[in-house]
Assembly symmetry: C2
């Protein structure tokens, strides 16, 4: 049947259930959707009667006439219905005017799950209804969404994989599953910890971001091998693809070193890896933090594809190109580039423009594109300033071929690397939009990143130090002497586990010497040691050398399942803004129920309220 | 060596680690200690040089001179040390006066773990230091306590048993382990739910007491078989042997009935039962709520021993004993009794006195003791009013023998049963104090209690109804028609699992019909259905018949391990008052850290503060 009607968009920021009702072949597309927020997938509506998918509609479609095909998922009163396709959901406003009586009749009488084609103009929600409603309808009717094949598959896959992880730790390696408290005490600088008012005036528990202190105390307590599938809490306000509560596979061992932990985790992942996925190879490759930054411009490189950053400073020592001269004349000054293979074929002018714009806006850096044409001519504003031997040297260093595009920038080492690291991913997005598959979704590329710095200069005051990870991380054995002379140069025994460009785990060997811990907390970090006196005291009572790791289970499952968002591997996730859209949590509480906790609400002034609502709408853009 | 010194009591309300460093033989004693708060264990200090154990000292010993033997566990500065024996901990104040210089020298130089005998006067903590310090020192130095054999055994036993439970559910029966949120919304009447302020002014999450709503929604979502080892939260202020956060084995199944759940749990416990314990027999016996009340005076009978309540009303229909006449003349009036076998041998006059006092204080009931002497004479104030045939009938009904004591009371059925149920347990305590073993600690006596009432009259307003358990409990199939006529008479499909007199689990078949659920919530319970609209709406979308159960893991492990308190099967438990004595949680939070949550502390007035501190000290008595 055919209906003329009005559409209004409900599911902005929705983690689109792409491929949900379609063959696995769509999987690759579904993952691409979330890799870049700029992406469209025009292919999805080619050759068919629809103009768009339900899932792709967004504010940029407002006012356009579109045609959608899908199933009637839900109808409320006789006012609107929800249309579903494999890509997402859209609310369809049922026309109430006399002239559309027949349409209304059909719409209101059609059984749910009827397949319909709908044409109409895209409008935004009626004023006043945006806030609660602009978040995903999928979350509001989660119990229906859970019936979908994909959610059933994801939740069962998660359950099975966690069970295998437990078998590996408990049954094969004698780990003890110990539950640690979640009603704890605020940790120094625990700004992201939720508070829980107690019945004692002015006293609060806090929900810890991890069982870090408890698991170290368990080692002091002689538990030897601890693990827990631990619920953790982090209050980051609104952030995309983050949840206020999340789960980590939390592990701690006594008398272990870094390689011991790494082997344990490699064995754990291999043992628990789903049978219906490509088996994984162990041991995982390892890379230093410095190398990751220099080669990929990030501490979590996606090693499924190359496009590595190359330092070409030496090629341009005697260049006449002004901004390269300037850069090289400075300390730490470098010239670096990435080579986008076949970029000349796939990258459009406007792509390059947006890339250069991005570099200026976010890094205040200039990016120089060089197109290597089939005719062997270099097409670039500076081509004429690059001598033949420089070209040859460049081609040798970067293994350039015809039809490649070289993106070149100059500046301070870290900054240039970070920029090119971002451009590398953006170029991968652009190429994949044009059908080039760089990142095989079936491929799982693990990587250990090691030798992080122990300290970083504080952002607000670079003369002071803060822990790169947490203050219990042990220094690298060969750098300990530097603690007392050049602490900034000290490397740590921290390690990150990276999968396909996402950090899925991190851990470290801990400090087990009370004196060293005190020195780092009090002298180097200027922390109030009183807040950690219980831990320091415990170290005084004979602490074994120990270390551990935590794997982010939600993120890991998201990658293993090939899901667009972690919300697709969590039964009842919160929205971007931390709302439970099904039950409407968080919710108001009558003042008398606050009394026992000796707190009262301090209502913000109008101006504050305005500001916070602005922030919230801003967050929705994420 | 011998020292004279001063003692001050630290560990009042301590869950004494009885038997910790002693052979298993002590196990039975260790359990008795916590069965009654009135208990002393004089045997523990017979035949030896000490007058008391560290663990038994309490306020009633203040001012007494005592002699203790034990190990030096800890020394702080040179001011006090902590003496440990198998029973508990005591703080020993090191004398600072010149005359005791030699004593001080020895005390301060003796290595930790030295064995010492200490004599001194019991004093209470110096003023101002009571509050934090009167709670267990064991909790403050938990990481040391964890090294004890018993804690290592308990935590490893717990880990292994939970692993077996998971194998049974996941691997053998296809259950899906699903994590549900702990940041949820306040449930109707959720007065015991902790609040978590959000960054939205006036909006709060709450920490749920169970995943009840989520597990039902998972059934609506077609998960079919769910389980979770779920962290739950209950804010009950200070209560003995309760924890603000606790763990339950949470289970829900679709298309199941009561017997299905019961068989599942029986199989689960048998499969996961520790190999080093007596194997358990299944199926477990079952008893109706009415029968449990009538026979044991409680809904969680300890079926390891008899001493059952017998209704002897008919014996006294024509009695001349006044208070029996009065009782029987009233509606619901009954005469009931328990028979304490060999009571005449073991119960002292003062025992009987305290029993009668208890009956008067707590039940406003008279209790009549009858001693059946070896000389066949009955020794009782009313003996002469009891005719021969009454004696014979009584002897027949109660299977009395010489040397027994019959405790007789008269009054309204429920009240009389409850009183005798309490006396039954108290008599068991008294007999066991005298060396009679009634409750074999190696014995595990499981019992299903079924057919609870669906509703109870509200305490504050008996004309209104409240759910006996929770409003989602399905009515007994054969009583549904009564819902609309005599709801008070409706039995539920709720079931409790009882082990050795403790409730270790409870569950029910749920209502899956939205209309019935609405009727019960709105019409019978007068609840605001808006707060549960998401659940009611879910039931409208095709909910399968479903039911489930939750086992209290802490309580279960406590009984399995034969531990004196649930704190002995939890790695980092809170004190009675919900404090983490190790890290000092809950703690103060600077006002600026409250700002993001739009709350401020409302400090109580002096009088309120006084009141609350009184409550707190009262709680310590528990």
């Amino acid at each position: 049947m055919y209906l003329r009607s009005w559409l209004s968009r409900l599911c902005r920021g929705l983690s689109s259930p792409v491929g949900r009702t379609t063959p696995p072949g769509w999987g690759s597309l579904s993952r691409n959707v979330v890799l870049s927020s700029h992406r469209r997938i025009p292919e999805l509506s080619s050759f068919v009667v629809r103009t768009n998918t339900c899932g792709e509609l967004c504010s940029s479609h407002l006012g356009q006439e579109v045609t959608l095909c899908g199933w009637i998922q839900y109808r409320r009163q006789n006012i609107f219905l929800v249309l579903r396709d494999f890509h997402g959901l859209v609310q369809v406003v049922i026309p109430q005017d006399e002239s559309s009586a027949s349409v209304k009749k059909i719409l209101c009488e059609a059984p749910l799950e009827s397949v319909v084609k709908v044409s109409g103009i895209v409008i935004s929600r009626p004023p006043g209804q945006e806030n609660p409603k602009t978040e995903a309808l999928r979350l509001q009717y989660r119990y229906l969404d859970l019936r979908s094949f994909q959610m059933q598959y994801n939740l069962r896959l998660r359950s099975e994989m966690v069970m295998k992880i437990r078998e590996y730790l408990c049954n094969l390696h004698g780990f003890v599953d110990v539950e640690t408290p979640t009603l704890f005490k605020r940790t120094p600088g625990g700004a992201k910890e939720f508070l829980v008012p107690s019945r004692e005036p002015g006293k609060f528990y806090s929900l810890p971001q991890s069982p870090q202190q408890f698991k170290q105390l368990l080692m002091v307590g002689g538990l030897d091998r601890y693990f827990q599938v631990a619920r953790c809490y982090r209050d980051e306000g609104s952030r995309p693809d983050r949840q206020p509560e999340f789960t980590q596979i939390d592990i701690e061992m006594s008398f272990v070193d870094q390689t011991g932990i790494q082997s344990l985790i490699e064995g754990l992942l291999q043992y628990s890896w789903p049978k219906d996925k490509e088996p994984i190879m162990i041991p995982f490759p390892s890379m230093t933090f410095a190398e990751a930054l220099t080669t990929y411009g990030t501490d979590k490189p996606d090693t499924r594809f190359g496009m590595k950053i190359v330092d070409i400073s030496d090629v341009f020592r005697k260049t006449e190109i002004r901004f390269l001269q300037d850069a090289l004349s400075k300390p730490q000054g470098t010239v670096k580039a990435i080579c986008v293979h076949e970029g000349a074929k796939y990258l459009k002018r406007k792509d390059i423009e947006s890339i250069r714009q991005f570099a200026t806006d976010h890094f205040n850096q200039e990016v120089l594109p060089i197109f290597l044409k089939a005719n062997r001519n270099w097409n670039s504003t500076v081509a004429k300033f690059i001598m033949e031997e420089q070209r040859l040297e460049l081609a040798r260093l970067m293994e350039t071929q015809e039809e490649d595009v070289v993106l070149l920038t100059a500046g301070e080492h870290k900054k240039a690397c970070s920029l090119l690291g971002k451009l590398r991913l953006e170029c991968a997005n652009l190429l994949e939009m044009r059908g080039v598959v760089l990142r095989d979704p079936k491929l799982f590329s693990f990587l250990w990143v090691v030798n992080f710095p122990l300290f970083l200069p504080k952002e607000e005051n670079p003369t002071e130090l803060e822990s790169a990870h947490h203050p219990f991380t042990a220094p690298h054995p060969s750098d300990i002497h530097l603690l007392y002379t050049e602490p900034k140069k000290v490397r740590s025994q921290h390690y990150d586990l990276v999968l396909n460009g996402s950090e899925i785990g991190g851990g470290s060997i801990r400090i087990h010497d009370a004196e060293l811990q005190r020195y780092i907390l009090a002298t180097l970090l200027k922390e109030d040691v009183k807040l950690l006196s219980h831990l320091l005291q415990a170290l005084d009572y004979g602490a074994p050398p120990h270390g551990g790791i935590a794997l982010g289970l939600d993120r890991l499952m998201c990658l293993v399942a090939g899901a667009p968002s972690i919300r697709d591997v969590i039964a009842f996730p919160k929205s971007f803004r931390g709302h439970d859209l099904m039950s409407n949590a968080p919710d108001s509480v009558p003042p008398e129920e606050l009394k026992p906790y000796h707190i009262q609400v301090s209502w913000p002034t109008d101006s504050e309220a305005e500001k916070s609502s602005l922030n919230q709408s801003h967050h929705l853009e994420n």
